[in-house]
């Protein structure tokens, strides 16, 4: 592996009597997405603030491209720091300036670009972050999600080489969370900057991260790939990852993907090579429309109720489910052929339409006014073999999806 871009050597930081970081050692490599995970208040943001120079360590050394920051000439250090952008947890937007002015600020104050060029660059970022309608508004007039995107646009406006994201998805709805993480991953690939994230979004951040750093009890206890973290045997896994996964189960009523993998692994060990299994992929179309109609909390409640219903139905026959994305639920039906699973699913569809659709309708339809919305529930089944690749079975099941239910909310109800 190349020499690290940023390295902490025995960094200790205290605030008064409280030690936040205790002899922290870590390495961050160029061109990668590195995510720091840990419980709230563990000191993750403090690590980021050390990197950008907002906080100095009490003990230890921070190396930038192998050179200690503390001994570097100010001009050289300034040049290095100028290539770093920081996106604050609370956004830190200037509340007396419009979104446009906030995004344009770094270009206006640190470059000699002409007004027209600044306008072109700002509008490009505004478009990319879907802020076109909010461009003349003040931060206080925006939703939390839009403020976050404005902060993201400001952080990326100078095309930085290193971007530090302090909990970029905090306060976002599930749709936006995925959108922001996708955007970070997309920009990281496009501009090849080094991204350092602080996040709680497990497992979502695993999909975009090359490396994970685990902060636990004031120290970095793990550095490695998301796959390596899965097999990391440490109290951190139970206390931190477990609690975050428990939160996800509470939100969706379903297992996390890690738990799903573990359950599948256990089942696989029990199964003989010839034992079949089936995967059912449930999909929800127009969930976004329902979210904007009834609000994210109610939409989340609808999703959770549905997840619990699916889990209850299939767990009775040994099945287990996980949520793969905002609008997709995956259910494993072990020891069942395709024909058997189709029978199970058709029973499920009958029950679902008889009991669940009216229940969802009560929650999603009468509480709000608006245009007519149809929430379409899809299901697709595919059979797999024990030693086969599960991802190809999921793809096959997804391609087989058919409508199994529809909830129609009339306009203005």
């Amino acid at each position: 592996m190349d020499a690290p871009l940023i390295e902490f050597q025995n960094v200790t930081k205290r605030f008064g009597d409280k030690t936040v970081l205790d002899r922290v050692n870590l390495q961050i490599y160029e061109g990668q997405v590195t995510t720091i995970i840990g419980l709230s208040g563990a000191g993750k943001s403090v690590i980021l603030k050390h990197i950008i120079g907002l906080i100095q360590p009490d003990e230890g050394v921070i190396l930038f491209r192998g050179r200690p920051i503390s001994g570097t000439k100010k001009s050289v250090l300034d040049a290095s720091l100028a290539r770093i952008s920081y996106m604050f947890q609370q956004n830190a937007l200037f509340d007396s300036q419009t979104v446009y002015d906030n995004i344009a600020l770094p270009l206006r104050e640190t470059t000699n670009l002409k007004k027209t060029e600044i306008h072109r660059r700002v509008m490009a970022r505004v478009k990319q972050t879907e802020l076109t309608e909010a461009v003349d508004k003040y931060p206080s007039e925006l939703s939390g999600g839009m403020q976050k995107r404005a902060a993201l646009a400001r952080a990326l406006i100078t095309d930085p080489q290193i971007v530090l994201f302090d909990e970029p998805t905090t306060g976002q709805d599930p749709v936006r969370k995925n959108a922001i993480l996708s955007m970070i991953a997309q920009y990281q690939r496009k501009f090849n900057f080094t991204a350092i994230l602080v996040s709680h979004e497990i497992p979502d951040v695993y999909f975009i991260s090359n490396r994970i750093l685990a902060l636990y009890n004031k120290q970095i206890v793990f550095q490695g790939t998301p796959e390596e973290l899965e097999s990391f045997d440490h109290p951190f896994m139970d206390e931190v990852i477990g609690s975050l996964e428990a939160l996800q189960k509470e939100l969706t009523g379903l297992y996390s993907q890690r738990q799903f993998k573990i359950l599948n692994h256990v089942q696989m060990k029990r199964r003989s090579q010839k034992d079949p299994y089936c995967l059912v992929v449930f999909g929800l179309q127009e969930l976004h429309a329902i979210m904007s109609r009834v609000g994210y909390d109610t939409a989340q409640e609808v999703l959770s109720t549905m997840g619990l219903y699916i889990d209850k139905h299939f767990s009775a026959i040994g099945g287990f489910s996980t949520r793969r994305s905002t609008n997709e639920i995956l259910t494993m039906v072990p020891y069942s052929t395709l024909a058997e699973t189709e029978g199970i699913v058709s029973d499920f569809v009958r029950d679902f339409n008889a009991h669940m659709i009216p229940l969802i309708g009560e929650k999603a339809c009468p509480s709000a006014s608006g245009g007519s919305v149809d929430l379409v529930i899809l299901a697709g089944i595919a059979e797999g073999q024990s030693q086969g690749d599960i991802d190809s079975v999921i793809l096959l099941a997804r391609s087989q999806q058919k409508e199994i239910g529809r909830l129609s909310c009339a306009a203005g109800e």
Partner: protein, 281 residues
């Protein structure tokens, strides 16, 4: 260093004093003085940095905006206060001087009082109340909401971007507002002494013209510039370091920083008024 060792030796490992409790008041006074000197030094460096940044690029439009906020938007309140101050001065002076048959000196008394003392002092106090408190609160909120940290991460010097235009604008605005206050105050004296009490208008203006010399006006402006530097520095400094207050945090710290800014500014205006007056005399 020797002093530090001596003081530390009086404490045990738990941080409690082992002996000489009669020294406690002196320790407290000593700490307060050290804290005060530290703050004074920090504020002086803060002012120096802000003044240095004044001459950097891209400062002009920000300074003009601040002149509008500190100066132009304070005109109404300054005119109102100075008008009534002038009227009261005219009234009091007329009744006092009539007893000695010297009512002809009302104009000069009103003008000199305003130009040398009341104009600069009242203007500074009114700007402190109106703009100084707003400056401290604005910067304090920018500090606790991490906007100042954000500037640093964007490699924008926060002192250049936030503080310097305010101090420059105050230095430009204070003398101009003082001049307006002087003129309106003299007119207020004219209203009460001439229009209400019947003093001859020619006598009032003649007395004003004869006894007020350019040095009086210059001294008044010197005072107003001194007040501008003090008020702007104190208000910006209190807001900028609101997060480092030991007595409070967050929004409460901003509130207390604003209060401190106004109180310290007013005290400094009066203390420095005496010092500058004695130096100019």
């Amino acid at each position: 260093m020797a002093l530090e060792i001596t003081i530390r030796n009086n404490y045990n490992n738990n941080g409690t004093r082992e002996g000489w409790p009669w020294l406690d008041p002196f320790t407290m006074i000593g700490r307060a003085v050290i804290g005060w000197v530290n703050n004074l030094g920090a504020a002086t460096i803060f002012l120096g940095q802000a003044l240095w940044q004044t001459f950097r690029r891209k400062q002009f439009s920000k300074t003009i905006q601040q002149i509008y906020f500190i100066g132009a938007r304070s005109i109404t309140i300054i005119m109102l206060v100075s008008l009534f101050t002038g009227m009261v001065l005219g009234l009091q002076a007329y009744h006092a001087l009539t007893q000695f048959g010297a009512e002809g000196a009302v104009g000069s008394l009103v003008a000199l009082s305003l130009i040398m003392e009341l104009g600069p002092v009242l203007t500074a106090i009114m700007i402190t109340a109106r703009a100084g408190s707003a400056i401290a609160a604005e910067i304090g909120i920018q500090r606790i909401s991490e906007q100042i940290d954000a500037l640093q991460t964007m490699h924008i010097n926060p002192i250049r971007y936030i503080v310097s235009p305010k101090i420059t604008a105050a230095i430009i605005s204070f003398p101009l507002l003082t001049a307006i206050a002087d003129l309106v105050g003299i007119f207020g004296g004219y209203l009460s002494a001439v229009m209400l009490l019947g003093l001859n208008a020619g006598v009032y203006w003649h007395s004003t013209q004869v006894y007020v010399v350019l040095a009086d006006v210059t001294n008044g402006f010197i005072k107003s510039i001194v007040f501008a530097v003090l008020v702007a520095t104190v208000c910006c400094y209190q807001g900028y370091f609101a997060h480092m207050r030991r007595d409070s945090h967050g929004a409460q710290a901003v509130g207390l920083a604003t209060t401190s800014a106004v109180v310290i500014s007013c005290v400094l205006i009066l203390v420095s008024d005496y010092v500058v007056t004695s130096l100019l005399m």
